[in-house]
Symmetry: C2
Amino acid sequence: MTLSPTPRSTIKRGKNRAATDRSELYAVLDAGLVCHLAVVVDGAPVVLPTGYGRDGDTLYLHGSTGARTLREAAAGLPVSVAVTLLDGIVYARSVFDHSMNYRCAVVHGVATPVTDPAAKSHGLRVLVEHLSPGSWDYARQPTPRELAATAVLALDLAEASVKIRTGPPSDEESSPVWAGVLPVVTTYGTPEPCPLLAEGTAVPEHVSGRR
Amino acid sequence: MTLSPTPRSTIKRGKNRAATDRSELYAVLDAGLVCHLAVVVDGAPVVLPTGYGRDGDTLYLHGSTGARTLREAAAGLPVSVAVTLLDGIVYARSVFDHSMNYRCAVVHGVATPVTDPAAKSHGLRVLVEHLSPGSWDYARQPTPRELAATAVLALDLAEASVKIRTGPPSDEESSPVWAGVLPVVTTYGTPEPCPLLAEGTAVPEHVSGRR
């Protein structure tokens, strides 16, 4: 299935970097941890980082029911969501051709609040399992009060674009200057136990084995 | 000097995570590499990742003069810019208290185009030195044609907020469940030379020594 069905999700600049397969959209969304959510408040854009999770062609977002950004989105305002993974710094022979290697997905749409209790619980499960796979079944699940305090939004992935840059710098001029890519690598460190833990509490495999 | 002088840059949710010193804003902006720029196009928000650089209380943004997002910003439209650094996944005893450790700066304002040649060259230098410190003096500097093809915008850092979460999960309930933080660590890998380089071209210190 292909992407870019609408004018605003059709990439115009750097077409050679546009990915056109839906599987590439899924791959970028599944590899990221934080998205940037933009909404319009009083005519001005507001962008904020937030967690998310994907289930099929639905992107779930969440936050406190008191957060203005999410309240605006819940009212049916259009949103834009970007997930960006930085893979490297591209050093070219010219400063003009310096660049970044990255994978970026941008989704446009109208986010709708998920209020049905079962659907909301499912959305939260998707969000939690994206942030911390294995936690939903391992940790204590939400109480009705906690569920009520959390706003869950669903955004359809119908209108989305993906842009990916890989490889060496694009300038080919002859020069004694070094050019290439400095990879940016994101990894997980050693788990840091909560100071309140009972001594000897083992780190579970879904945390210690996370890659 | 303190931050948050306006209602929209005053953090309302999670006040305990709000940083109030301007030096913390600088630290987050200087530590990030990519920002997310939001503008309003046809009444809808559009968010995109882009490079940036800071000089004092000015944030520089740039892009192709053909990119619609930057053209809109150059017309004097309000923008919102977020720089987010993810530091860890917070595993709590309850899924409700799962969280992330992060540092995030959000700037609101009206971006103005930098057109004076000397000022534009300065802005580009700030941008390049943020992306790749040492490259401006090492690589070939922009030709007049390259300068003309690049749009540089300046955004004043007057209206900004910083939110930082650190430390263990916040729930204190007694539970045999492991809780703690899985650090997210971003590092640079081994430089990958461009295949077109003359054999034996040494990796310069500003690349190999980057931390």
